[in-house]
Symmetry: C2
Subunit: 692 residues, 2 copies
């Protein structure tokens, strides 16, 4: 570059403003329309105390340099990882400084909104040690881990095995002579893979390896293994470890691989709270009832269901607010007006947009009640199990499998639906929905692939069905599966009594319909398996369908029963949530219409009534749409979105974020000299010559 | 770091191999099973000449440093843009050196698989100049542009206006005194936005601006405007221009913004092939028949439909091959064997996986025939229009709108379905499906938002319906819409004659079913609008549905008619394609079952037969699955995927790609000293003290 300063940032002319009416005015008008008290719904959702924590933590993080987000959208992976370490350390300090409890810290992680190298230390390493250490091991591993003197990860998945844990290849062979285990990776596919925090960070790992004693294979067991030196962080001899490279999302996590070459670990490494290997003899002592661990899985999944709700909440908050600000086309038949002037129609007024977004709002509130009910059932079941009663476990566990599958799928689809509803700007990372979609997406695969999980649910449903048919199932207020199956068996030719579209605004009508459709599907699969000679593999497509049907039944049922039990709600708040409950049930019914029709429970004429009622409900939600996302109480710091800001300053915010783009900090781009200029100058030469 | 060399790359132990049977053996076995000649189907799809070009171009690019892809997954945006400029220049040189024609160059772009700064120069700037310049302007703009002496972009979309072109805010006011136009951006929302190649590259832009003459607004018109200096690439005075920042995908494109502050451009800038502004007087001369440009749109959309096919082809190639290599769980009821030993089941043998993937294979071949038919209709229509016959235009144009909408949505869903079918490794960028999904995704929004487009199709369908009812529509062999509507009107209570699942293996049965369902839907919307007093906005949800139904009808119809006309196909190839045609029709019918049932044309019992037949067809495709993706002839260079390699060396390839990850080129990660070591060393101190 000759003679001018290239390091000049491009700025937008400060005098320019968006063509009015502008976002703040439009959102204010929306909020004025609400039929209910926003704050009251927020309190109902989170409780006053948590709501306060949510706001406090956001305020703290906003002014913490280690937690700043303004550079996130421009940075490459190495810069983002470096920044993530800074945040991980600062969070440890902040927790002390602010005297934060676990809830505060979890909220901070949520608002920061990025999995980082220490995430799995908290999420898997500590809980595993907590659950599987004997007293000696608690001192040796758990206590230093709580002080971050050792940093761990959880190494289960291998290059060749994910879903099938029983197929893991890594071996841990007991050596009686030295009272050690020999950890070994016999194949390339035995390499541990995808392990969060392992790539560059962890110095310890919980390693799931096949326990082999005297030539006998006892299957996968957990070992706590040091993998890097505490002196200089180098991998220990016999260990190959590194990062597995870039992913779709999760840029700030160092997912890693790990191979053992006959790596010896001491006897104490075998986590021995449940099963044991006796020193010297190598005698194996079996764990007690393995079913206890299924109880914990319900808790993990209830958290995932809650996460689905929060993910949808984020998508909807951005898309609904932006749809109230973004205007496109004048609707000649029903023109929008502002101060008596015709303006372009805010896109939230198009019924297609309403259909896309308000159904997501209904999903959010539905999942709120689902999550709550799951936590309740978890507590109830754990209490019963402690008394030695395992009656609830199978039902709770199988529902939790299917619900993890269904709700994470709903969330992924809903987020993307919201992003697309933002039109072109939805593709800008400044929408706040791009990286978020990527980071959320693995939920449909991890903690049990969403298709594989449906098999667990379906196996239980089929078993219960056979018990009901054989008269061996006992009705129980907490086992809804037996209830709807029994009802179906009493009248497998039942039909829906609704004769008008308003007849569907009745919880009993809807719950019966969802129950019948599910039972019908289960009965069909049972017939295929038990009478038509089909194998399990032959019916996998229908297996996924009945799991989904069952879970939709649960969500519908819990939405209505949850509302009924929510006596703290005042009339206006109850009314809008009731409308959402109907909308959830009916838009779900509409989406799954073919199964309801195929079961014979609904007629095509009733199907048409359902469609009509969905549109009625959507129109009823319209004035409350912005208020309903406001009630979700997600702070701007969390959203990190130009489109979804509470104040509606969409275009000003986009302009500010564009000014931060590194490409705009020089006038002439790298590459101009070598790759553009030669062609352009050839043209200038040609012009000069032609003038001569 | 003290005392050791930190710059050591992590390598996998070379002696380790995957647990067998390995990918190459498994894929070889798959290929041996094929019922048809792979090469024959490839030739049928592309033609021998194009197929040869596809292979030749891939060979050339593989050894070109400017086209190398091995670093792509690790690079941040600035590095990728710099590399993109290098590639843009090299492609210009290669085209000359290799004497490539337009087809070769397009194939090179496809295989390179990244939109780059010059992409819009070729894709929009040149074609617009080609179409809209008068003779003088061709010399002034087009000729230097063809020599890359000027680099252009196409600036239409604004910050506040995308879909609604008529709402653009930028003005071009004619100044008779100087015979100039005054280009101006009155608001922040008037800023041009999203313009590919504008951010840092283009020195010219086609600017769509409202033409204002003597205070009268003539709406948006195209101007060819210099925006950067040819001497030093600096923006010219009066212009604010820059990059709009990071996006979900399209990292190598410098999408830009552009604001004018009363920027004067000469009279010649107004592209004057069609409309004109007379110098001095400012008299405006209207363009001739605007309908001609609709013809071109059909061509653009036929290309997008073809692109949908190729996108699905890529997803399916990766997922199907990897599913034949990846093994998970032993199916106790039907164990897989290899050399008489039980092995874990390759996931391609699970029916759920087959259902997810083989339906995508059917979609690919369906869209092949759709694209071909659209190009044919485009030619036919252009020929007719030249003769002054505009009869075909409305039908062709409206179908092309809906087909763009439907097929790009199918492609996005299909790619993601394929990616998820790859399990955990589908999230690694090394799958080749992550960045690809991001780059493909905007297809559902650009060139007409997929929801907005359905309105164009539906308006035409409703108009045609009203004409058919009024007896004013003329049947024509090329107007299938009139055909199925007429058939429906003759018997709106018709029902499907199928009584067994094999009865559905009949093109006429299927085409009639799709036609009836579409006509029924159109009739319902017409009734809502014309009799039930609904507004257009009230029926938008159903508008999207009837557009989709119409387009599915077209695809089914063209698949069967295309096969019938493909006399060059030998029996085995014809047979497998026929199976795919049935699978396409029936899995689509299954997915849309509720509409078929609601129309009364199909009964629940018939619905069950359809479900059964889909599973039958999927089983029939099983032995040909790998061969069917091989026939799509996508080179490894294009796929850039460890999972989808032709040779099946999945795990070795993942290991190689991991070794290239920059984080693995040092032993101890940046950040260790400041953020990890302090905690760990505190622990070491504690230990030392406790020992004292």
């Amino acid at each position: 570059m000759t003679g001018f300063n290239n390091n000049v940032s491009t700025k937008f002319p400060k005098h320019l403003t968006p063509k009015g009416p502008d976002g703040p005015e439009l959102l204010e008008a929306e909020r004025a329309k609400a039929s209910f008290n926003i704050q009251a719904v927020s309190k109902f959702m989170y409780g006053e105390q948590v709501l306060e924590k949510m706001q406090n933590v956001a305020r703290v993080l906003e002014s913490e340099p280690a937690f700043e987000k303004t550079q996130r959208y421009y940075q490459g992976r190495p810069e983002r990882i470096a920044h993530a370490y800074e945040k991980d350390k600062r969070l440890i300090e902040l927790t002390k400084e602010m005297n934060w409890d676990q809830n505060d810290r979890r909220i901070a992680q949520t608002w920061y909104d990025q999995s980082t190298p220490y995430t799995l230390h908290y999420g898997m390493f500590l809980p595993t040690l907590e659950g599987q250490c004997n007293e000696e091991q608690r001192k040796l591993f758990l206590e230093p881990a709580l002080r971050h003197e050792i940093i761990g990860c959880y190494a289960q998945t291998e290059l060749g095995h994910g879903s099938n844990v029983q197929g893991l290849e890594t071996t841990a062979t007991y050596i009686p002579e030295t009272n050690e285990f020999d950890l070994h990776s016999p194949h390339l596919t035995s390499s541990k893979w995808w392990i969060g925090g392992l790539g560059k960070t962890a110095n310890y790992a919980i390693v799931m390896a096949r326990l082999v004693i005297h030539g006998k294979d006892y299957g996968p067991h957990p070992f706590c293994v040091q993998i890097r030196s505490l002196e200089d962080h180098r991998p220990l001899p016999g260990i190959t470890v590194g990062d597995i490279g870039p992913k779709f999302g999760y840029a700030t996590t160092d997912n890693g691989f790990l191979l053992f070459d006959h790596y010896r670990i001491p006897h104490i490494s075998f986590l021995a709270k449940f099963s044991q290997v006796k020193s010297g003899s190598g005698e194996y002592v079996k764990p007690p009832n393995a079913r206890l661990s299924y109880g914990t899985m319900v808790f993990v999944r209830a958290n995932i269901v809650n996460g689905s709700k929060m993910a949808l909440a984020r998508g909807a908050t951005v898309a609904v607010r932006y749809s109230a600000v973004r205007k496109q086309f004048v609707d000649a038949a029903q023109p929008s007006k502002w101060n008596n002037q015709v303006i372009e129609t805010p896109v939230i007024d198009y019924t297609m947009q309403q259909y896309r977004l308000f159904t997501v709002i209904a999903d959010i509130y539905a999942l709120h009640f689902t999550g709550r009910e799951m936590f309740k059932l978890y507590d109830l079941n754990m209490a019963e199990m402690k008394k030695g009663n395992f009656n609830l476990l199978a039902d709770v566990h199988s529902s939790s499998s299917g619900l993890k599958s269904l709700t994470t799928t709903m969330a992924v689809e809903g987020i993307e639906q919201c992003r697309r509803a933002c039109g072109g700007h939805g593709y800008s990372l400044f929408s706040g929905l791009g990286q978020f979609y990527q980071d959320y997406l693995p939920n449909v695969t991890f903690e049990g692939d969403n298709y594989v999980l449906t098999q667990q649910t379906a196996r239980y449903l089929l078993k219960t069905f056979r018990n009901v048919v054989a008269g061996k199932a006992q009705a129980s207020e907490h086992n809804l599966t037996i209830n709807y199956l029994t009802q179906y068996m009493q009248n497998p030719k039942a039909t829906c009594p609704a004769t008008s579209s308003t007849d569907f605004l009745n919880p009993e009508v809807l719950i019966s319909a969802f129950g019948f459709r599910t039972a019908f599907g289960i009965a069909q699969v049972a017939e295929d398996l038990d009478r038509n000679g089909r194998s399990w593999n032959d019916v996998l497509v229908d297996v996924a369908r009945i799991s989904k049907a069952h879970c939709q039944y649960m969500i519908v049922r819990w939405f209505f029963s949850g509302l009924q039990g929510a006596t703290e709600l005042a009339a206006p708040e109850r009314k809008v949530l009731q409308t959402l409950a109907y909308l959830f049930a009916l838009h779900t019914l509409e989406a799954e219409m073919s199964e309801f029709l195929m079961s014979g429970y609904l007629s095509p004429a009733q199907g048409k009534l359902v469609k009509e009622q969905v549109l009625e409900l959507i129109a009823r939600i319209r004035p409350d749409a912005v208020a309903l996302v406001d009630a979700l109480a997600l702070p701007d710091y969390y959203l990190a979105s130009a489109l979804g800001r509470y104040d509606g300053k969409v275009y000003q915010s986009l302009a500010e974020m564009v000014e931060r783009e590194p490409l705009n900090h020089t006038i002439v781009v790298d590459g101009y000299e070598n790759y553009i200029k030669p062609f352009v100058y050839a043209g200038l030469e040609r012009k000069k010559e032609s003038k001569l």
